[in-house]
Symmetry: C5
Subunit: 128 residues, 5 copies
């Protein structure tokens, strides 16, 4: 069967909605638990998880997360396809804070490399 | 009759709403199946399609797709009028990931060409 | 009486909501039919119009239009006050596609002029 | 008592919601009527106002205004604290059109000054 | 227990929704009261607070605040993790106005430092 859920064995119960700082994101357990088995999202949304939720759901049933929706967006895309992609106006420091909060180790390194490169003189600076 | 649905023979049942990563997009089957008959969207939304949906609909009846709404937007516009148009802040790599996911072969080539050109030194760099 | 509806003789029945690609826009018949009597919007929303709607309304009663909300926004502002105003990140080619779709002849010319000027070397390029 | 409503004597009946072109803005009568007693908003939302509304409310009770939400945002912020602040991508001409529509005389002058300064060669242009 | 609420002892009653100028933000009392005990948000949302609300809630139960949602976003992120992070297009003057309104003393200083540095000639300007 065709799947629009990214993972191979998406099941209807797989869909979850997150309320991140007031904005809704829809994804699947497969995506949220794909990388870094020790990350907060992986521990929260793995089906065998027995950890206690100290987070709660809002009236619509979305899981509440008290973080920035703006910087969560590239995090979630990374979980979907494994690449970090930022639009030109996005401050990578904002994404780094979220990667640290969620415990996404591999992403933290990628972001720190990106920020180091950005601190070097950029292409607009005439070099002599 | 006048048509605001793009395709020539738009029918009321043609309208579909997609929930892409938490954001709603409204379009028609005619648009979603226009290019690349083998693409995921074409196979999902062609009326003669007998493929099994492993995707599901949300409470409002919108088809759930676990992908980036930000980068889906130019993809959907491409399906509407056949041209790839990106705003200046958009990272074409984000759109490329979606084009690959949905299997839009013609769009992948267009994006790869665009990205090759962007890697050349840009207009701000004084050349000597 | 004071009017927040732009046109001089706004009537309560004048307000219409459009669902453009999933995003809602609220305006008045006066605005939508102001320019280019032959444009698609003018023909759709002029009160004496007898043309058949092949478009439909969504559950909230908004008229469905299968086009880009991002590039419709400056189009609608143009209909409100007669000037084309684009933010700095907006790709004018996206607005041109919408102007063509809706048949806004005067706007097409304005956009083509704008794009020609943009192709000239810009202010950042040192000229010799 | 503490007040999150800006003005000193905010009352519960002070809160109003505006539907500007399809997007909702929440503010208070105190904010909307603060400057330019002759402005359209001041005349509309001053409590002693006897002017007739030719505008109307939508289903949610929000006052309908057929203008651009994008450019209304800095206008409303100006009414909140008295300063005009634009993000870097915002075209000041868009805000000027709204300031003219609403009759905010002091803001019109501020914007025209800003636009004059922007037309001068900017910092990126090598000067000889 | 795992916590997605930032603070260590998040309780279900901790979640609050703010309606800032028409846009909803979801956060916790722990976040809103973390810094600057004298700030307006800390006084409003500390549980031992006996101050009188002159602000009110909207129909959905969200606390009404008559300020800019655009510039509140980095303020709320600062309260979440203690760092001020702005995207490249954001005008720091807009955030400064909000920091002043809410009485976030430490943030005001950070912003004023940032704006002083920005006024220096930037990297694109050839220096002689």
């Amino acid at each position: 069967a065709l799947s629009l859920a990214g993972g191979a064995s998406a099941d209807v119960s797989d869909w979850v909605t997150l309320n991140v700082g007031g904005r809704l994101f829809t994804s699947t357990r497969g995506t949220l638990t794909r990388f870094d088995a020790d990350s907060m999202l992986a521990r929260m949304f793995s089906t065998e998880s027995e950890v206690e939720w100290s987070s709660r759901v809002d009236k619509s049933g979305a899981y509440l997360i008290d973080r920035s929706p703006l910087y969560f967006e590239p995090i979630l895309n990374y979980l979907r396809h494994g690449r970090l992609i930022l639009d030109k106006f996005v401050n990578p420091e904002g994404v780094l804070e979220e990667a640290k909060f969620f415990g996404l180790t591999s992403l933290i390194e990628t972001l720190e490399d990106m920020m180091e490169r950005e601190e070097l003189p950029d292409d607009n600076t005439p070099l002599t």
